[in-house]
């Protein structure tokens, strides 16, 4: 059965983290997912939160309402956008007065929010909606025995009460997906839930890079072959800034960092050059994958 979603790109993925977008646009259709580009999406609202919470809520509600207008569920690959939109749904569903107020504001554009549309992130799309069995059936080039570590990122695991795609203390869905792809992920490592550093980047760049560096260093020391993430912010830290992070903690870092969708594409038989791997700044080419046909 074909699954159709409106793709909510957010800001970071289409302006900087192209690898994520390229790979998911290539890999997901193989699993029967149709991604629709809808016009009019704006910022998710989250960056405004410390300045104007009402605006944050309005921007989130507006995006949800646009998806609703097109009768499409939303696919939100950015964990931060996903959290902002989830929080908006949580607030509007538990506060009828605010829902009414938002709808009053949305009326100017002829939009309404009723809360009919579902929200998915890459992880629950693959794990809960497509399912491990379907993924397994489509695997052409298993990631044989690749020892990988998963990084979930804070926005994906917290806060639980607004509804997150994974368990907050012991998330295992990425590992399960990686196993379905034939890899051999470490299900538990002490630093698994450690922060990527990104939230500190604007104000305390040094501390931010220390967090990034410490986590990568620990992964490297444990002999893990690569790190897998699902959030453009985390990837920006672990991949794009890996060299800098290494300098901050005085370590030579060489941890290959992948988007889950890049590995998914490889396993599903998507050609390597179509997955944006050349855009990863970490040494992903040190791992040799079975060449896609």
């Amino acid at each position: 059965m074909k699954k159709k979603y409106a793709l909510f790109p957010g800001c970071l993925m289409p302006t900087e983290q192209y690898g994520y977008e390229i790979s998911l646009r290539e890999a997901l259709p193989v699993l029967g997912v149709e991604l629709v580009d809808v016009e009019g999406f704006s910022c998710c609202g989250e960056p405004m939160k410390s300045v104007n919470q009402l605006m944050t809520l309005y921007l989130s509600a507006r995006n949800l309402a646009i998806a609703e207008k097109h009768h499409l569920d939303l696919f939100v690959p950015c964990a931060m956008c996903h959290m902002a939109l989830s929080e908006c749904i949580y607030v509007l569903e538990s506060n009828p007065a605010m829902k009414e107020r938002m709808n009053g504001m949305l009326a100017a554009e002829g939009l309404t929010y009723t809360g009919k549309q579902h929200l998915v992130h890459t992880v629950d799309l693959l794990y809960d909606h497509i399912g491990l069995e379907t993924i397994k059936q489509h695997v052409k080039h298993p990631l044989k025995g690749l020892k990988l570590a998963a990084h979930y990122g804070c926005h994906l695991i917290r806060p639980s009460e607004i509804g997150r795609p994974v368990n907050s203390e012991n998330p295992q869905k990425i590992e399960e997906i990686l196993k379905a792809l034939g890899a051999d992920p470490v299900t538990e490592y002490p630093q698994k839930l450690d922060c990527c550093g990104a939230p500190l980047l604007a104000n305390l760049p040094e501390s931010a890079l220390t967090k990034t560096g410490q986590k990568l260093q620990a992964i490297q020391e444990q002999g893990i072959q690569g790190l897998v993430d699902v959030c453009p912010w985390c990837h920006k830290m672990f991949d794009s800034r890996q060299t800098k992070a290494g300098e901050t903690v005085a370590a030579k870092l060489h941890v290959p960092v992948f988007y889950l969708t890049q590995l998914l594409g490889l396993a599903l038989g998507v050609k390597k050059e179509k997955l944006g791997l050349e855009l990863n700044l970490s040494p992903v080419d040190t791992i040799s994958f079975e060449e896609a046909v």
Binding site: N167, E169, N170, E188, P190, Q191, L193
Partner: protein, 653 residues
Amino acid sequence: MRRIGVFVCHCGINIAQTVDVEAVTEYAKNLDGVVIAKNYKYMCSDVGATLIKDMIKEHKLDAVVIASCSPRMHEHTFRRVASDGGVNPYRVEIANIREQCSWAHTDKKQATEKAKYLVRSAVSKARLNEPLKTSSIKVIPEALVIGAGIAGIQASLDLANDGFKVHLVERDPSIGGHMAQLDKTFPTLDCSSCILTPKMMEVANHENIELLTYSEIVSVDGSIGNYTVKIRKKPRYVDVEKCTGCGDCATACRLKDRITSEFNQGMGKRGAAYMPFPQAVPLKYCLDASKCLFLTRGKCGDEPLCKKACAQGAIDFDQKEEIIERKVGSIIVATGYDLLDPAKMYEYGYTTSPDVITTLELERLISSSGPTKGEILRPSNQQKPKSVTFVLCAGSRDETQCTWCCRIGCMSALKHVYLLREKLGDDVEINLCYQDIRSYGKGYEEFYRNVRGLSTNMFRGKPSEIRTMKDHLKLDIFDTTVNKLFEIKTDLVVLVPALVPRADAQEFARLLRLTLSGDGFFLEAHPKLRPMDTFVNGIFIAGCCQGPKDIQDTVSQASGAASRAATILSKEEMEIDPLIAAVDEDICTGCGICIEVCPYEARSLNEKTKVAEVNEALCAGCGGCIAACPSNASIHKNFTKKQLLNQVDEILE
């Protein structure tokens, strides 16, 4: 026409500040059948009681309505007052204008109106209340005690020494409960088994105690003074008459040292033929039917080795479970507690490292009869730890797990610090992460002060996560007394988990018709004044099944419950409430539906008259038969259909 008196209580200001009691009194005067209405500050006081009695005499009243607190509180009081004044106690009606009116509302005008309606409704019922007579039943002077931990043991011994026959039922193969697992007790550091074992022996040898171990309650029927209990005796597959407790079967068992020992909290192993611990009572072996090769597969090598080893021929694979019946006058429930499973809190690393253990597991390590013979060794490598860290309130006082305090965690951890210092010496680092130290009992604070002197690192805070590193554990803790983040590297983490109700508490409560409080423990009839009573007459609760408590409090409560039970058992006869079912013989068709629905076996068919009857000793007044009767022949005395519909009509008017 009845002559009804209405008495409105102020309850100090509890009622009077929200309800205009004068207005309610004036209103009541004009109701049909009311000849006098009065109000007073405390109707339940001596002066109030005298007022009621005087009015009964002066106005020749034959029914009384009290507008006051819930009937649960003072119905009994006012029935006695009316009876003393010469009115049948079952012609007293309570209008609850406190819990259901003044306490629930803030608007005085509306609350007053509501109070008027409540009084009016009660008066309408009082007009039709019949005078009833109490009847009496014979009390069976025997007691059932469920659970043979320290609470059950204490209650049984008290009752048995009072001269009553006690049936003590224990689910496990041995009595002793959690206390048998402990090494030392706080704050006096008494050896737990040294003070418990004599009591266990006394239970085993007492002529008035019938000990039923490895047995479970199947059903409880009847009511106060006359309960019928069915008990399932699980097969031990060992003839207890022949077994001498020599242990040859356990030594011979093919599964020896291959099954996790429940008694040792998973810290040690046992076989399928086993005795939970060396001081077990009864000192008899038992075969684990879920593990024993012969019992699960029908084959154990060429022949079962235990059978071959037993010189007494006590092993009996043909034993079947047995259901026995006992009749008792009163029941004491002492089923104890479970520890919260730390696996539920993934962040504490209980599932990721063998070196994260619970207090009860540490008890078994410290105990000289435990798996390590009292040596403190890390489960991962059997080496002495150089650093031990206690994490208190693991799941306690935590909105995501258990909101309540476990009441024993602080003291048990302090006790362990003391014992570890003694066993491991001064060069071992001991850290203790706490929220608050609650050393509230007699001698506890002094004990705490002593332990603080034992160079213990106290951190006021809760670690967010316990990380399993290569050869050690790591935790970050923010100490709120110094506002600093500490990073602790440690070898052994001891979690002090929350105390939770038994996993099957809910199921068990249904069996006995007990109520649970919000936290899942058994609910007492009144938190302050009836802490051992339940809402089921004749059933009492003791120990941790009612809520977490230490051994001292448990023993006190158990003795209290025994004395409450003795109050019943010492009576030859017991008055029973006449507010029960009755039959209108002219209407009853003898269809028998009431007999089917009655859970107390109180209904039967008179074969001669073909009319259903009520056994007044068994009827609990639940009303099941009244609702089920298709011809309205079953009635509830003083709660007739007419009375209840009248009440509703009066309120809706």
